[in-house]
């Protein structure tokens, strides 16, 4: 059984022109298909605007696909929810972690209250049961009892992102979508959170759809990768193969744009230094 099956996903946005009336259609995601096995980790890479977030939003039901189908745990979720039971069930199947740790937690809700809300929604645990589960969740993301009563503003970016991961884990989903989940963190914190994600996957068997423009990060936490350009998949395969022996010229350019010793930004942009300086 697969965690996620996406088939021929397309998303077309209607863009309003300057005059307010002139519409034109913009294809943000164009015929994207992929499968994520249970417990697997799929990376989606691509430059800014290539449609990564749009895919994440379609998977999580925040955006409706223009065409194509999505199934999580073999249950279709291409159509809007029809009942509150189904809405909760989808919540137990797929969760999401966003990029910005500063806006992804309710500023008025303590971390404990936030987890409590999820547990109330998805489990039959009593008060004491929820309390011990909250402590367990905090512990599993490297936070402790003290953080339960903290408001987000009292936490660092890394701690907030850990809290957001704990929230995503609370309902024990089959898959978690992480949209640039470590991109806003500084490098050392990034490494800690990536280690945490690896550990959690090994322990709980949760699958990841891991979206990033950072290739080093993709290499660390994913088994397979998919390279997106202007909404289309240009290359896919095992992460190592894609990153070490890229077949597509676009992937090669993406790889070349990672700053390493001897890196030449002008070569990446494909322009002569004189032209750039103008």
């Amino acid at each position: 059984m697969s965690a996620v099956v996406a088939e021929s996903l397309c998303k077309t946005f209607r863009v309003r022109g300057e005059a307010g009336r002139v519409h034109h259609e913009f294809v943000a995601v164009d015929d994207v298909s992929f499968t994520v096995a249970r417990g697997a980790s799929l990376g989606i890479v691509g430059e800014s605007g290539s449609g990564k977030t749009t895919i994440a939003r379609m998977l999580s039901g925040l955006e409706r696909a223009s065409s194509g189908t999505i199934a999580v745990a073999d249950r279709d979720r291409s159509t809007p929810v029809r009942s509150s039971g189904e809405r909760r069930r989808r919540g137990r199947e797929l969760q999401i972690v966003f990029q910005d740790p500063y806006t992804s937690l309710d500023p008025r809700q303590s971390v404990g209250a936030c987890l409590e809300e999820v547990l109330r929604l998805h489990t039959q645990l009593d008060r004491a049961g929820r309390r011990s589960r909250i402590l367990e969740l905090l512990d599993s993301v490297g936070l402790d009892e003290r953080h339960a009563s903290s408001l987000p503003r009292a936490l660092s970016g890394g701690q907030r992102q850990r809290a957001a991961i704990a929230r995503a884990l609370a309902a024990e989903p089959i898959v978690i979508v992480l949209d640039e989940a470590v991109s806003a963190l500084d490098v050392s914190v990034q490494a800690q959170v990536l280690n945490l994600l690896g550990e959690l996957r090994a322990r709980t068997g949760v699958a990841y759809v891991f979206i990033s423009h950072n290739l080093a990060v993709i290499r660390q936490v994913t088994d397979e990768a998919l390279v997106l350009r202007r909404g289309r998949v240009v290359e896919r395969g095992p992460t190592e193969t894609v990153l070490d022996a890229p077949a597509h010229e676009y992937t090669q350019r993406l790889l070349a744009s990672v700053p390493v010793p001897g890196w030449d930004p002008h070569a990446v942009c494909g322009r002569a230094p004189a032209e750039r300086a103008r």
């Binding site: 039901g61 509150s84 999401i96 992804s104």
Partner: protein
């Protein structure tokens, strides 16, 4: 969830003190003075039966008397205790705006939540309807309602509540639209939290300061509008004491005893200034934070 050393007993005043400090940081010392003044007036209004003698008792041997121990602010032209009338008058004068703003907010916030949450055609329809309601001047609507249903606090308050509703709804809606697309709301949606619960538990609490600033400013306007309606003889009827009724007393002016008109005027001005000042401070603080 107190793993810290603070005992629950000691924690309560700390929380309250922190809340006072946070309010102080937002509205300043002058704002705190305004709040204290309003609290005193409100407390006097609530405790009127305990602290103020019958405001309609006529002491015909002591008409238009100056201040004395029995009548700290003197008496009016019927020998009624002025301070007592002001304190009892505070009850209707403050209760009226409370009803107006309570009713207006009670309708406006859910309407705004539906518009902001659903968006699209629902939002458009509600916004157009609110635009339409802006066209009705509150006082004229009140006069119309009084003409149809008779004078009194209830018809006047309902009419004003209807005309105040769109103002509060518009401000609340724009706050909700701004908040609605933040990731924490999306996270709650993905969790499977119902739209109703998201609005009640997350969206509305997070725009509460915007709503509070609009509510306090509107309260001042409602107080003036209701006093004006009393003055016009459409709201509270004499001999019931009410600041608006007390202002409408040309005899006092003709008899050369203007204090009985001046005191209620002063109270209206002070209350409106205090409440509007607090509201404006809250609003500008909100604007500063939004940027």
């Amino acid at each position: 969830m107190s793993a810290t050393a603070i005992s629950p007993v000691a924690a309560v005043p700390t929380v309250r003190r922190r809340r006072v400090a946070r309010l102080h940081a937002r509205i300043g010392t002058a704002g705190m003075v305004a709040v204290a003044f309003l609290a005193v007036v409100a407390l006097a209004a609530i405790l009127a039966p305990l602290i103020a003698p019958n405001p309609n008792a006529e002491d015909l041997l002591n008409i238009t008397a100056g201040p004395s121990l029995g009548h700290p602010l003197g008496t009016d032209e019927l020998g009624r205790n002025l301070l007592s009338r002001l304190i009892w008058g505070a009850r209707t004068s403050l209760l009226g705006p409370l009803i107006v703003i309570g009713a207006a907010t009670g309708v406006a916030v859910p309407v705004a939540a539906v518009a902001g949450w659903r968006g699209g055609a629902v939002d458009l329809a509600i916004s157009r309807l609110l635009d339409l309601m802006f066209a009705f001047p509150g006082l004229l609507l009140a006069i119309l309602v009084v003409a149809l249903y008779g004078t009194g606090l209830v018809p006047c308050s309902i009419a004003l509540a209807i005309s105040y509703m769109p103002w509060i709804a518009r401000v609340a809606r724009s706050g909700i639209v701004r908040e609605r697309h933040k990731p924490y709301i999306a996270a709650a949606e993905v969790q499977g939290v119902s739209g109703f619960a998201i609005c009640v538990r997350h969206l509305i609490p997070n725009i509460s300061s915007i709503i509070w600033s609009q509510v306090t400013i509107s309260f001042g306007y409602a107080l003036v509008d209701l006093a004006a309606l009393s003055f016009l003889g459409l709201n509270i009827q004499p001999p019931t004491s009410d600041w608006g009724v007390m202002v409408n007393n040309e005899n006092a002016l003709l008899d050369g005893h203007p204090v009985e008109v001046l005191y209620p005027c002063l109270l209206i001005v002070l209350c409106v200034t205090a409440v509007t000042y607090v509201g404006n401070r809250l609003a500008s603080e909100e604007e500063r934070r939004a940027r």
